[in-house]
Amino acid sequence: MRLDWEIAKRGWRRYAAYPAATWAGVFTNTVFGFVQAYILLAVYRHRTDVGGYDAGDTVTYVWLAQALIMTVYIFGWEELALRIRDGSIATDLSRPVNPQRYWLAFDLGRAPYHFVFRGIPPFVVGAFVFDLHYPSPGLAVAFAVSVGLAVVVSLGFRFLYNVAAFWLIDHRGVLRLSVTVSLFFSGMILPIAFFPGWLAAVAHALPFASILQVPVDIYLGKHTGADLAGALAVQAGWALTLLALGQLALARGTRKVVIQGG
């Protein structure tokens, strides 16, 4: 536990070291938030409800999504894949900590930094311009738990497409495909509430909804009571499944790894 804590602190510090990059990112998230909010609001000139979302829900969704982009790190991560490619993974494997546990701890240190410094500022800007919804204290706690689970699901998935580098000479194709599919089916580009029924069913059957749509729906109060517990359970289920698959893939990949000296 002490070890995980120390790794997590390094995760936070790594990103805290570049405040200028953080502010540049906040600016970009804010601009995208405005553009997306106005596009989706144009839909509400014609109707008052889309898949259970009213206009307030939708703009709140837009700013939450911008706030969570970096927290759940959905735009792609290739650090592990690069270590596999250049052979540094050999050093990682000789350490007394499992690489997945290392990166999970690191990511759980990184995520709070991004939530506070990349998430809250654009959301506050959005709150000044649009009528956003705010959760009750109970829902806020559930939302916090859900975001934590979302980070684990996301790391579980990112770990998998990075481990693919054991088998591929060039991991970037898989990376690009994984990022695009997860962006779309997490509800990052459009809320899943806007999807036609069959596509929404597909989205809810995949793990990606647990990365964004589920926490946002919890924030908006779309899940209550047993339904809320169920939503969190689905997230936890995906987190465990993806982490287990990651361990399996890592074990398989490790068995075939050949490091060419260095």
Partner: protein, 267 residues
């Protein structure tokens, strides 16, 4: 100028040859980019699943905006997208090498790469354009055809200028590629929908000051024969080429000012 193009042609031909050495890898990469970019357009279709028209525009008309902007953006990404590597050159000091060669620094940066896989995105734009044509009624005449031929290069120049000017921020901050994304990727996102959905201040900032509205919106109003819901002067619908020239000049000036400020990290 002619000489510059000749040199550019040679440098890029070398790049292209090297990328085609691994044909299977290249084909997979380009096909992947092509397929992936359709998920992006799927978002437009999903949006229109909920409404027949968005701010008075049909799905095919929005597809027209999307396609023309997408093609122009893909070209800009192809030609200048790799300027992002400027950050690395500034950090390591390798920008110095460009300063001692007998060509302009911007020219050398542009001629340093051409990622052919980005043509996948270009192809996607063309397919979406075909889709747009199946559902829009356009009274084709010489003027409209000419506008179509002019708007794509103009849009390309506008996107490329924004890219170049945006990248100059790095001369001050070293990092900052992400800041520029707000204008390039953010600008492209904005041009995919009719600009009257945006609030007045966002339009002034990203559609007129950063002249994104001239990429697809104004020329499209003319080609599709739509009334401007904002009631702006009709002349604007024909001014994209002029705006493109002005944007290119502005970007060139910003680049020169930025390079003059460059202090080597000692590479």
């Amino acid at each position: 100028m002619v000489d510059g193009l000749r040199v550019y042609g040679r440098l890029i031909a070398a790049q292209v040859r090297s990328q085609l050495q691994y044909r299977a890898s290249f084909a997979l990469d380009a096909a992947g980019t092509f397929l992936i970019s359709f998920l992006d357009f799927l978002a437009v279709l999903v949006l229109f699943h909920n409404v027949p028209r968005l701010a008075g525009w049909s799905v095919h008309e929005v597809a027209f905006l999307y396609a023309t902007s997408s093609v122009a953006f893909a070209l800009a990404d192809l030609i200048v997208g790799h300027l992002e590597s400027l950050s690395q050159r500034l950090r390591t000091g390798t920008f110095d090498i460009l300063l001692v060669r007998p060509r302009g620094t911007l020219f050398q940066m542009i001629a340093s790469e051409l990622a052919l896989r980005r043509l996948g995105r270009f192809a996607q734009g063309c397919v979406v354009f075909g889709y747009a044509l199946t559902g829009t009624h356009i009274d084709w005449d010489v003027g409209r055809a000419l506008m179509l031929v002019v708007m794509v290069p103009a849009g390309f120049v506008i996107f490329a200028s924004v890219w170049v000017a945006g990248m100059c921020v790095m001369f001050w901050t070293t990092e900052g590629g992400e800041f520029t994304n707000a204008f390039t990727y953010g600008g492209q996102f904005l041009t995919q929908y009719p600009i009257d959905v945006y609030s007045a201040w966002l339009r002034r900032f990203l559609a007129y000051l950063v002249p994104m509205a001239f990429v697809s919106y104004f020329p499209a109003l003319y080609i599709l024969g739509k009334d401007d819901p904002l009631g702006l002067p009709r002349l604007l619908q024909f001014s994209s080429p002029l705006v493109a020239v002005a944007a290119a000049c502005a970007a060139g000036l910003v680049w020169r000012a930025a390079v003059r400020r460059y202090r080597s990290a000692g590479g």
